[in-house]
């Protein structure tokens, strides 16, 4: 097990992502974050609070469960069965810039599912993808707009993001 990101580094990456998002945000448009379960929603909340501070106004944050949109429901790839959880987006997504937030971008399938879910919820002005870790191995033509750490972990390895709120500490490891 190798630690590739420590707690301060994660904080720095989130600060960096925040700046980039703000610098590219068009004037006059609302912005919100939506985190992909699980752990994406925690990062989304952290980003939202940083964005709110910098912009001086409320940037809402929501939670998205993509289980129902997965492409492997009827052809399970592993023995693990996904559990359906709630989606909690307490604001209107229409005409806003929605920043989808996930912990790791790998094959791109989760992001594809998340986009399909968002479209069924409304019509955002734009969807941007922000991830903490961007690892190689895309299976779909999807790229992150705001990527934190770029990882070249091999296909058999697991890139595990641990966060204080869910796992007790902030740390990214490769197993």
């Amino acid at each position: 097990m190798k630690v590739i990101l420590k707690s301060e580094q994660i904080g720095q990456i989130l600060d960096d992502l925040t700046s980039r998002i703000i610098s590219e945000k068009p004037k006059g448009l609302g912005i919100a974050t939506v985190g992909i379960r699980s752990r994406g929603e925690i990062l989304a909340q952290r980003l939202s609070s940083r964005l709110s501070k910098k912009l001086g106004k409320e940037v809402p944050s929501g939670t998205l469960d993509i289980t129902l949109y997965r492409d492997d429901l009827n052809s399970p790839q592993s023995s693990a069965q996904p559990q359906v959880r709630t989606t909690e987006i307490g604001f209107d997504i229409d005409d806003k810039i929605i920043v989808l937030v996930d912990d790791v971008l790998y094959t791109g399938r989760s992001a594809r599912a998340a986009m399909d879910a968002m479209i069924d919820l409304g019509r955002p002005k734009a969807i941007r993808l922000a991830v903490l870790v961007d690892r190689i191995g895309r299976e779909f033509p999807i790229q992150a707009d705001y990527a934190g750490y770029k990882s070249d972990a091999a296909p058999g390895q697991l890139v595990q993001v641990n966060l204080v709120e869910s796992d007790g500490k902030d740390e990214v490891v490769i197993e």
Partner: protein, 319 residues
């Protein structure tokens, strides 16, 4: 075992939902938790998710029903499944085709899930042994109506948080009610105390072996319970007249405004529908502030979506 634990994850293994008697508290709770995740689909602009896209769900209803049938049809549709509606009157069963032949014919056309309602207890179980598709029991004779039981406990749990320690009365024609049966199993397993209330001719006599107590007096029970579930008394079905008249039944076992005055102020009033206004329940009570009857219907959709999803998952993993 319908539910197995893999580390922190659970897995739903049962590709049929035949009854609640065979499930334990953990399994029932898992279905309810899953249903929570489905609730919001009905609140969105696009009330669909692609989870069952390309799957075929058959509503095999041998008994009249609009509400359960529509609820399942809508649930399947919200999950993007294709639905075939099959009613006895418009089918070959009236020409003498057996249940087995009907099911095999449907299976030959390639179906994934069968939702069956039948007047014979055990019909769903019989079907699950005879075809490869998933089978969901939407009511078999006097035996069970599991999705109704689930949505009833879901409704209570949503409002009260937990059923542990709650006193729940189920009132009416209990011996002929599969709703009462499924309710009894689910509620008792989740820690509630269940009381059947009705005239001795309509209430089972087997105290001791079933997880319920019995009372012949609604007046006594109404003051003590947290939830009261009024069953529809099906006059058209009762052979041999187990009580003398509608008037007398309502007098002793109807949920009236008068009786509600003596009930706990936060009592939940439930009914599986359709309501016989003025018979088992007065209009003011059915429409009153304690009534969660419409909540039940709403929750029924989420619960049925969850059930369709879970049995499909189990079947997909089997392959």
């Amino acid at each position: 075992m319908a539910l197995i634990r893999k580390g922190k994850q659970f897995e739903w293994k049962h590709k049929h939902l035949l009854g609640l008697r065979e499930l334990n508290a953990e399994e029932i709770t898992y279905i309810l938790e899953t249903a929570e995740g489905f609730e919001q689909i009905s609140r969105r602009a696009v009330k669909k998710a692609p989870a069952l896209r390309g799957k075929v769900v058959v509503n095999l209803f041998f008994e009249d029903s609009t509400r359960t049938r529509n609820s399942f049809a809508l649930a399947a549709s919200r999950l993007s499944a294709d639905i075939i509606e099959f009613t006895e009157k418009t089918s070959s069963v009236s020409k003498g085709e057996t249940l087995l032949d009907t099911a095999r014919n449907l299976e030959a056309m390639g179906i994934d899930i069968v939702v069956i309602r039948h007047s014979a207890a055990g019909a769903a179980k019989f079907l699950s042994r005879s075809i490869k598709a998933c089978v969901i029991n939407a009511g078999d004779g006097y035996c069970e109506h599991p999705t109704q039981g689930l949505l009833d406990v879901y409704t209570i749990r949503k409002i009260r948080g937990s059923l542990e320690g709650l006193k729940i009365a189920i009132v009416g024609d209990v011996v002929h009610s599969r709703v009462a049966s499924s309710n009894m199993w689910a509620m008792s397993k989740l820690g509630a105390e269940v009381i059947f209330v009705g005239p001795p001719t309509l209430v089972p006599t087997l105290t001791g072996r079933l997880p319920v107590s019995i009372s012949y007096s609604l007046d006594e029970v109404v003051e003590k319970v947290d939830v009261i579930n009024m069953l529809r008394v099906q006059f058209e079905r009762l052979g041999g007249n187990p009580f003398p008249s509608v008037r007398e039944y309502s007098h002793y076992f109807g949920l009236t405004v008068e009786r509600m005055k003596r009930a706990k102020p936060d009592i939940l009033v439930m009914h599986p529908g359709p309501i016989n206004r003025g018979v088992e329940i007065e209009s003011e009570v059915a429409d009153g502030q304690n009534s969660v009857i419409l909540e039940q219907v709403k929750n029924g959709l989420a619960v049925r979506m969850a059930v369709l999803f879970l049995v499909n998952q189990a079947a997909a993993q089997e392959k």
